[in-house]
Amino acid sequence: MTDHSQSELPPDDAALIARWRSGDERAATTLVGQHAQGIARFVASLGEREEVEELVQDTFVRAFGSLDSFRGESTFRTWLLTIARNLVRDRQRGRKRSRSHVEIKDEDIVSTSDALEGTVAAETEQRLREAVETLSPMQRAIFTLRVTEGMSYKEIAMAVGSTEGAARVHYHNAMRVIREKIDE
């Protein structure tokens, strides 16, 4: 019903990976440019705010270092998300519970007033941010992937290391929580 394929690489990604495998290191730059921002959002949604860029960088370094093991059974984006999730988990375990709580800081936010103007008031925008803050890291990660990427539950489950059904439940629970928050 949807257009996205579960098992095929987007043509651009496949071509770029082939170029990189043949020795063209410039292809890596293009791949980073295509996926870095999405990986950063995902990392942030999992609760990492201070070292997002470093985590994104580590994700790509690890990915290109083990590209031999990538069989194309998922999209390259999903594979990167899986690596990023593992890195975040390892880092969070290393820090125990000393990590800083997730907060979306104002200086990190690109001005979206233009996009929201005429549709949602600035007050509503702030409430939306606060509502997202109340989600658990898992809910936030799944909700972010679903809303910003349009990923299927199956792809999301692969990325976050969960099941398709659990991903669906997390998404709907997140939607319910956000609705309740903005209706208060």
Binding site: T2, A28, Q37, I109, L128
Partner: protein
Amino acid sequence: MSECTSGAMRDLLPELVNGKLSTKVQSAVESHVTACTECAEELVLLRSLRPVLLSAPVVDTQRIASAVRAQTTGAASRVHARTAGTTWWRLAIAATALIAVSALGYLGLAHRPRGMREVAATHGLPHVAGNSSGDSSTGSEPAPPFTQAPTVSPRRSERVQTPPQQIAVTPPTRRPSSVSGAGALENLSDLSDDDVRLLTASLDKLSPVPDANPAPGIDPLGASLEDLSGGGS
């Protein structure tokens, strides 16, 4: 707020927001949204949330790309080398296997005549190749029952299709008979009528009384008589 009656349509709202639906499905979802207040409100909420979620954080992709390239320099070459090495070894293994199969095939062809003789002996077929003289002194090989039978080695397909007993061979020809010599007396039953008459005539010419002075070298009674006479004197 009206309750949504189509969970499937509602489930596709994130894909609608991200433009991931086909034209046909998109039209169906949009039609549903116009009639469903709950989905319409959720669609507005999703369209409001998306820019908020997309906005943070912002990372420097150029700096990340430079760092990644610096840390993975040579990795692409190593992957390429591994791939090329794998291809080379596969070709080498394939070539070795081909040579081995060819050698085995050659050896099989070189030993084929011996195998054919064994097959012929097993089926009692005449096989006179290299043995047309009828010499039976070749060890364990049975003496050929026929003389000068053609060296017939039916091709594999013929052997498979025709039972050994029905293989057409040259009709057996009798060994040229001889009225003299021990060989002729060994197989009297094989003699033709002419041979028998010739033999009888030859016998008739012999004297029924032993010669008193046998020719040298002829000792019809064997050495025992000579021993007796010699022993008596």
